[in-house]
């Protein structure tokens, strides 16, 4: 991954729509991925629309690679179609009357590239994304994963300088999501420009982003690397959103067909990823586990869960009727349980406790 220090996108966005004001500042370096994370209605899509040029700024300035795209102070405004931007839209918005290939070729055709060349280039992209065989299909005939790949090809076809991904995986089922996430990760690494990923899925954000920008009710509430935000979430939303368990290590295949993720602080049993191919060992794998998927027990549980970790409770924090319990096991984990469970089990700091979770609940992100 090439990481450049120079800031390629500098954006100050202030937009008011139907009485709802969105204000945000973004600075993204070339070759960096920033995830814009926030609950529904926080203003994420408005920011994407503003960057793409579909929503005029009420106040602010956009600069990409040293070129001013919009500046309310000077009245400069480059129209949407002349911005070097590629977008994957929420719900994809593939053109229903055009074939997959024509969809992918659209940004080139719109820029006056001759049909034959546009189709050849778009075809190459579909090939890279593994959907070349679906070129003649209409979007309505594509599976969720295929449509996703066509939308990605369409966003990249004209070699934009900035890639905007608005909830790119919201239309996918869980299975396809894992597959596309790996693909997306590769694509983002290979894309030299600015990448902005809009999502409300912390796993997606953790897996793909170098930096998180949290937005709530139209305002940025926190900016930082995933580790920074995880270590010190500033709002309850941030805590809930990014407070996931992360296990980084090397993945090895077990004889029974599952896998084990060996981290510096201990081992976690995981499902063997379907997209691992014939490999039996992979370095640099990220495992993500939601705290809500961790169950707590006073005595060693007997059940189907492959992971049972024992440790003392390091901290209990309550948030409304939920409680987050941090356990100093190896590796350490955070569990989210109901406040009623905490009371029933009589959990307090320093108590020994068993934390258990199923292997399949650990989402894997391959390098």
């Amino acid at each position: 991954m090439s990481v450049q220090a120079a800031t390629a996108l500098e954006a100050r966005v202030a937009v008011e729509r139907n009485g709802f004001r969105v204000e945000a500042e973004l600075a993204i370096g070339a070759g960096r991925t920033v995830a814009l994370l926030g609950p529904n209605g926080a203003g994420k899509s408005t920011i994407v629309r503003a960057l793409a040029g579909l929503q005029p700024l009420d106040d602010g300035r956009l600069e990409l690679d040293g070129r001013v795209l919009e500046d309310t102070a000077t009245g400069v405004r480059v129209p949407a179609e002349r911005r070097p931007v590629g977008v994957v839209f929420q719900d994809l918005l593939l053109f229903p009357h055009l074939s997959a290939l024509e969809n992918a070729a659209f940004p080139l055709r719109a820029r006056g590239v001759p049909r034959r060349e546009a189709r050849a280039r778009a075809g190459g992209l579909l090939e890279r994304l593994g959907v070349a065989h679906r070129g003649t299909a209409r979007p309505g005939e594509l599976s969720g994963g295929e449509a996703q790949r066509v939308a990605l090809a369409r966003a990249l076809a004209h070699e934009p300088r900035m890639l905007l991904l608005d909830e790119p995986m919201s239309a996918l089922d869980v299975r396809a999501r894992g597959e596309i996430r790996t693909l997306l990760s590769d694509l983002l690494d290979g894309f030299a420009g600015v990448r902005l990923l809009v999502t409300h899925d912390p796993v997606e954000a953790m897996a793909l982003a170098d930096e998180l920008v949290l937005i709530e009710e139209g305002r940025v509430t926190q900016v930082g690397t995933p580790d920074d935000v995880r270590a010190a979430p500033r709002t309850p939303y941030a805590a809930e959103l990014v407070g996931v368990n992360l296990f980084a290590g090397s993945l090895a295949r077990l004889d029974d067909g599952s896998g084990v993720l060996r981290t510096a602080e201990g081992d976690v049993v995981v499902g063997w990823p379907a997209d691992a191919g014939a490999r039996t060992g992979i370095d640099g794998v990220l495992g993500v586990l939601r705290p809500a998927d961790v169950s707590l027990f006073r005595t060693a549980p007997e059940g189907s869960a492959r992971n049972v970790l024992m440790g003392r409770i390091a901290a209990v924090t309550r948030e409304a009727d939920r409680a987050r319990v941090r356990i100093a096991s190896s590796p350490p984990v955070v569990a989210e349980v109901t406040a009623a469970s905490v009371a029933r089990l009589g959990l307090a700091e320093g108590d020994p406790v068993y934390a258990s979770f199923k292997a399949v609940e650990v989402s894997l992100v391959l390098p």
């Binding site: 793409a52 579909l54 949407a80 179609e81 839209f89 053109f95 009357h97 719109a110």
Partner: protein
Amino acid sequence: MRERSGAAETHGHAGRARRSAPAPAALLALPALAFVLVPLAGLAVKAPWSRAGSALSRSGAWTALGVSLEVTLGATALSLLVALPAAWALARVPFPGRRVVRALIVLPIVLPPVVAGVALLAALGRLGFVGALLGRAGITLAFTTAGAAVAAAFVSAPFLVLALEAGFRGLDTRLEDAARALGASRRYVFQRIVLPQLRPALVAGLVLAWARALGEFGATITFAGNFRGTTQTLPLAVFQALQTDPGAAIVISLGMLAISVGVLVAVGGRLLVR
């Protein structure tokens, strides 16, 4: 909100609970069917089949067919020219008084055609306030083929406006935004995204407008007159033949009936049924 969704649900139940009536109740449709079919059967029964060919040529039907083609195609083109921008504005621009503007634009649908003809004559006739200006520019509409086309367009354009407005409303504008963000100019978006998706509404609207223009009688005869070879369209030829050779009128009418049935089949009855 909750209450409303509850009401919708009740509504849905009522719809599902509706029982089918017994088959003999279908006879209720019979009077309306007879009302249409009996006169049409009259055409077939009274038609002078043996001398149909000579009746057609003597009554000037072939000439009238040519005029009708010219007039209806001209009228349809003119309708498209005014209807497309109007339909777009009505569907997409939330301007004040939009409902009033729409009502005025579709007024010719309910206006008696003869009134339309008199109005056109008053405005666009040789002595009309617009007609006088056109006359100075060397353009005469009253009692010309072009005038017949204008009269037909006046009554048929509203059908196209309504069909196209519904078409525009059926489009997902987010697709147009997506196209813009991917590098398409407004013109390219219209060509590649809007127009292809609008095609069913466009075709249905054009066919309806054309069919209405083909049947136009009152406005045409009032504004353009009834001159063989220039303004005598098929309906006017029928009218004239009735006074001299009723058999010929019936034959021409049968021909127009065939065209109407063809049109109905062409649009699949979709727009007309709903």
